[in-house]
């Protein structure tokens, strides 16, 4: 396959002796939104984590814009790592309770040594994009709702303008309006940057509405 894409090529993965993925292929081209469905336990999240370079497959490989990736996130160059971002279902599990929402959004910028003033501007811009009002930015996770915290996680995921965004049930715990809003923000981002997006969901109506095509993993 040619062109810019994030792809899983014949990947297999297991937990202990239980095989959850068996030589699976998945191709997310730049500019397209792929839906991924499948029953609980069918390996959707495992596949997303492989694509996000959080784990390595037992066999097969992940390819990023044509090049096979050999290591996990920490082992690959920053420029490669920041091309793929992932958003999880539970924002509580994905954030440090000691940080304010502004600090959570700016975390990846600090990690790459962005000057403070520039980081502040980018944080404010992203907070606005995801619809977080300014009074929330100085609060810590315990003092905001789940939906508000998930918006902060989305802002954090977009901070480095990833070429690929993987959403693992990322709107499952959101109300209908916040879900439609998050989908619209991601859709707008995807069009503007010609990004590739993976949407994992068990909600068929949501995938039908949001994704260009749907892959079923069962």
């Amino acid at each position: 396959m040619t062109g810019r894409a994030l792809a899983a090529c014949q990947v297999s993965a297991s937990y202990g002796s239980q095989r959850v993925l068996d030589r699976v292929d998945l191709h997310i081209a730049a500019g397209e939104t792929v839906g991924l469905s499948g029953p609980s336990g069918s390996g959707k999240s495992t596949l997303a984590r492989l694509l996000a370079l959080l784990h390595r497959p037992d066999s097969g490989h992940v390819s990023l814009d044509g090049a096979a990736v050999t290591g996990t996130r920490h082992q690959v160059p920053v420029a490669m790592r920041t091309r793929v971002a992932i958003l999880f279902q539970s924002p509580r599990a994905a954030t440090d309770p000691r940080l304010t929402l502004a600090e959570i959004i700016a975390e990846p910028l600090r990690a790459t040594g962005t000057p403070a003033e520039q980081a502040r501007e980018r944080t404010a811009e992203l907070a606005d994009t995801v619809g977080l009002t300014t009074d929330l930015l100085t609060r810590r996770p315990h003092a905001v709702s789940d939906g508000q915290l998930q918006r902060a996680c989305l802002a954090r995921a977009l901070v480095h303008r990833p070429a690929y965004l993987l959403c693992d049930e990322a709107t499952a715990m959101l109300d209908a309006s916040t879900q439609a809003h998050v989908a619209a923000v991601i859709g707008e981002y995807q069009r503007r940057h010609s990004a590739g997006v993976l949407v994992i969901s068990h909600d068929a109506a949501l995938l039908a509405r949001w994704a260009d095509r749907v892959v079923d993993l069962s």
Binding site: Q89, D146, G147, M173, D175, L206
Partner: protein, 350 residues
């Protein structure tokens, strides 16, 4: 719907959080009655105050919270309802008999809440179970201890634990795992089993289906419905409109800390009366998939009058005055210019 007296009557519930430089208006002047056998769903946008409502009723708010209003819980009902799964003569509070005075959950001393009310009379299925389960005990120990504390014998409790596990859709073998060994969805089911174990007459379920896939979501919802049909009252707090539609008798729509409409489920989904309810339904992927335009107001800086005005295409100068809402009876709308059923039907081509 039943015509019996409410089991819980919430009147004027108001919660404020003090922050260093602001006050959060999390719940404002909220009225809600719930009767035995009734399942009331509370829906609304993220951050509108749904969880705070549940936590206020359980006395579980953090220290920076101030609570006013009343939440009267009838205490003579637990033992008197019939047909309830595993009814064992009710709770300590219920033993007061038919003449027992109601308890005001908002004025109840913390010790009484902890010992006699929480768990026993008012069960909570929490929103983030992973953080609320004791990490050093297996699911089985947690469940058996809870069952024994609520009247099951040593011999009977393990059997009841297995039965409850199956009820909530867990493999009984999974009970032997520690909470950190459970997936989010499994932890959610364990938390549900723990809340159901004492067979409380009132159940507060705050997003009880988080992390579950659709078949398990439906399974859990139907389980709550069955508890209702057996005489319990259930307050289901959910962001999931489809969940509310599946099992609720009535739905209360919350916006910016207030209930703005409370209607029978079918009426709400077919012909919402409040412009916000209509906009929220429009956000569903099955409908327009269009977010409610604009953003909810900051709860630290609410406008005078109707808080939805800035996002509402029906707003007029009259909306600068807070619309009245007592909400005791389902079917009310807090709006100066509510939508009419006929008007909505007119938009649908015949």
């Amino acid at each position: 719907m039943t015509t019996t007296d409410p089991l819980l009557a919430v009147a004027g519930l108001t919660v404020r959080f003090r922050l260093p430089d602001a006050v959060v208006h999390a719940v404002t002047d909220l009225h809600l009655d719930i009767r035995p056998g009734e399942l009331v769903a509370v829906v609304g946008e993220s951050g509108c105050g749904k969880s705070v409502l549940a936590h206020a009723l359980l006395g579980l708010l953090p220290r920076n919270a101030t609570v006013t209003g009343r939440a009267l819980l009838r205490t003579d009902s637990a033992g008197s309802r019939s047909g309830s799964a595993g009814s064992r003569g009710g709770s300590a509070l219920a033993r007061g008999g038919d003449g027992a005075a109601p308890v005001d959950l908002l004025a109840c001393p913390p010790r009484q809440l902890a010992r006699q009310v929480r768990g026993r009379v008012v069960g909570l299925v929490p929103q983030s179970p992973a953080t609320s389960l004791t990490p050093v005990r297996t699911g089985r120990r947690l469940l058996v201890e809870t069952l024994r504390a609520h009247g099951h014998t040593g011999a009977d409790a393990p059997v009841a634990a297995d039965r409850l596990a199956v009820d909530v859709g867990l493999d009984p073998a999974d009970l032997d795992r520690y909470p950190h060994e459970l997936s989010g969805g499994m932890a959610q089911r364990l938390a549900t089993a723990l809340a159901l174990a004492p067979d409380p007459p009132l159940l507060l379920a705050d997003e009880p289906t988080t992390g579950l896939d659709r078949p398990l979501v439906d399974h859990t919802l139907d389980l709550l419905r069955r508890r209702c049909d057996a005489g319990a009252a259930v307050l289901l707090i959910t962001h999931d409109l489809a969940a509310a539609q599946r099992v609720a008798d009535t739905v209360a729509v919350m916006y910016a800390s207030r209930i703005v409409e409370h209607a029978p489920t079918e009426a709400l989904f077919e012909a919402p009366g409040h412009p916000y309810s209509a906009a929220l339904l429009d956000a569903l992927p099955q409908r327009a998939f269009r977010p409610v335009p604009g953003h909810p107001p900051m709860l630290t800086d609410l406008p005078a009058g109707c808080a939805f005005a800035a996002r509402c295409d029906r707003a007029t100068p009259a909306c600068r005055v807070q619309p009245a809402f007592t909400g005791i009876r389902a079917g009310q709308v807090a709006c100066h210019h509510p939508l009419e059923r006929a008007e909505l039907c007119a938009e649908v081509p015949a």
